[in-house]
């Protein structure tokens, strides 16, 4: 059943902008992205919005809906009350380009800073063999759709622009964890780099990244905290450090 939905949509650019009121028809079963498209088609022809798959798999339509980082294509209009006004803004951790579109290139720069997978030198293409139980932890992290909602909600950069230089963010901590847990990755000092170059120590594990992840990746419990513990192994645990000098220990490189 159709209803008239009250919305406030942020419109503007890097210099200026404001929330604009709009009333739009919303039909049963529609998501917020649907009604944004209707606004674009009927009332705001130049409204900028980034989207692609409309299935929660491309990560393009990330925005903030009633103040929460969400995918617009996965947010049911019916989840809000009949009289409730839905407020839609661009991601507030990144520079705005226009209306609901932000510049997320920060994330691509950070991605390039992460040392890539390094297999053993004598491993030829097609020869990699791994057991399922050795890779299943990493597989959870491969579900990431790079919507960057975790990056947006992380207060380390959301509330402190100056930290962007030294902090990779939760999306890239799961990348680091994925590689550090990879059974065939042999790169040394990945843990030290995570702490010293990618800012793992800046995270105070308040779990907002996990709360907003549309893929339900347990970012904090399964990636960030395990990485913090691995960092403790090599940097803050003299007993384990001594143990590695006496006897080769798995995982401590």
């Amino acid at each position: 059943m159709a209803r008239n939905l009250k919305m406030r949509i942020w419109r503007g650019d890097a210099d200026n902008g404001a929330l604009q009121d709009v009333t739009v028809e919303a039909n049963e079963g529609e998501v917020v992205l649907d009604v944004i498209h209707r606004v674009q088609a009927t009332q705001m022809g130049d409204l900028a919005v980034r989207w692609n798959c409309k299935a929660g798999k491309c990560g393009s339509c990330s925005m903030e809906i009633n103040g929460k980082p969400r995918l617009a294509c996965m947010t049911q209009v019916a989840s809000y009350g009949d009289e409730e006004t839905i407020t839609v803004t661009p991601l507030r951790a990144f520079p705005v380009i226009k209306d609901l579109v932000t510049d997320v290139s920060f994330n691509y720069r950070k991605a390039m800073e992460i040392p890539s997978y390094e297999p053993p030198a004598n491993l030829k293409p097609g020869e990699a063999r791994m057991e399922q139980i050795d890779v299943e932890r990493s597989q959870e992290f491969r579900k990431c759709i790079e919507c960057f909602l975790c990056q947006d909600t992380c207060h380390v950069i959301r509330d402190h622009e100056e930290n962007k230089k030294s902090f990779a963010g939760p999306r890239f901590f799961i990348r680091i964890a994925e590689l550090d847990m990879h059974p065939l990755d042999i790169l040394k000092n990945r843990k030290q780099k995570a702490q010293e170059e990618h800012g793992l120590g800046m995270c105070n594990i308040t779990k907002c990244c996990t709360e907003v992840c549309p893929e339900h990746i347990r970012i904090t419990d399964n990636a960030i905290i395990p990485m913090k513990e691995r960092v403790v192994d090599v940097k803050y645990d003299p007993v384990r450090w001594l143990g590695t000098k006496i006897r080769k220990r798995e995982g401590i490189v």
Partner: protein, 265 residues
């Protein structure tokens, strides 16, 4: 101007546009934790009503000071009851270990960073601080010592479990009795084990640090079990906290004569 009010970001004057009761959870956390801290501080300094055969309060076990009530010292009395002329409650010699375990716990960190330090108060709610260095500098870099408190915590779990076993005696020291106090101490010990076993450090120590689970099937199995418990770590953190407080309240009430420790047999 920094954070969400940085020059390049969307010009929105509100610190958050969340319309739900985002403040409720940190407010409850603050209320519960501060209540516990006040009660625990009072009890740590009270220095009485902590032992009555066969029950001992978890706040005072093991009782290691010369001022400990006769029969309450499981591991002897290596500490004096005063130093530099200042009387010290036996509780103060041991409190750092369970306190440190909880203070550095990954779950409690989330809870108190949000509720007390408002860093951030809730997700997508701008924090009030102008500078942030996380856990990279003193004193917060000491959070990396969580595993040491975990190891000490295990020793305390063993001792408190032993206290619960000793509570299968009656006030005269005869074995084979069961009282409400026995159940209270057993429940407390059980909850503490669940809290410790579900800990992230425990999960890491048992198998999380491995690269090849397939080469360590026993540790993989242990890691898998602890991972299941780890899902419930916040729950265990809270109920074990209540368990400790309740065990102490019960022992205090019995020791002070307010309640009678009912014996089933």
């Amino acid at each position: 101007m920094s954070g969400v009010f940085s020059p390049t970001r969307a010009k929105i004057k509100e610190r958050t546009l969340r319309t739900d009761k985002w403040w409720l959870q940190p407010a409850i956390t603050f209320g519960v934790l501060i209540s516990f801290v006040i009660y625990a501080t009072f009890r740590a300094f009270e220095n009485k009503y902590y032992f009555v055969e066969p029950l001992i309060s978890p706040f005072y076990s093991p009782c290691l000071s010369t001022s400990c009530i006769e029969g309450s010292s499981l591991l002897g009395q290596p500490f004096n009851n005063e130093y530099f002329g200042i009387g010290i409650s036996p509780s103060l010699f041991i409190l750092i270990f369970p306190l440190g375990f909880r203070m550095t716990c990954y779950y409690y960190r989330k809870a108190y960073y949000r509720a007390f330090w408002m860093s951030p108060p809730a997700c997508a709610v701008a924090e009030p601080h102008t500078k942030y260095t996380g856990e990279t500098r003193a004193p917060l870099i000491l959070q990396n010592g969580h595993r040491w408190f975990f190891y000490f915590g295990l020793i305390f779990n063993v001792l408190l479990t032993y206290d619960a076993i000793l509570a299968f005696r009656n006030a005269e020291g005869n074995w084979g009795h069961l009282s409400v106090g026995t159940l209270v101490l057993l429940l407390n010990a059980t909850l503490l084990w669940l809290y410790s076993m579900s800990c992230h450090t425990c999960r890491h120590t048992l198998g999380g640090r491995l690269k090849h689970f397939s080469k360590h099937p026993v540790r993989y199995k242990l890691w898998s079990w602890v991972s299941v418990l780890n899902h419930k770590h916040p729950t265990f953190a809270w109920i074990s906290l209540f368990g400790v407080a309740f065990a102490d309240i019960y022992v205090r009430a019995v020791a002070s004569g307010a309640w009678t420790n009912f014996y089933f047999f």
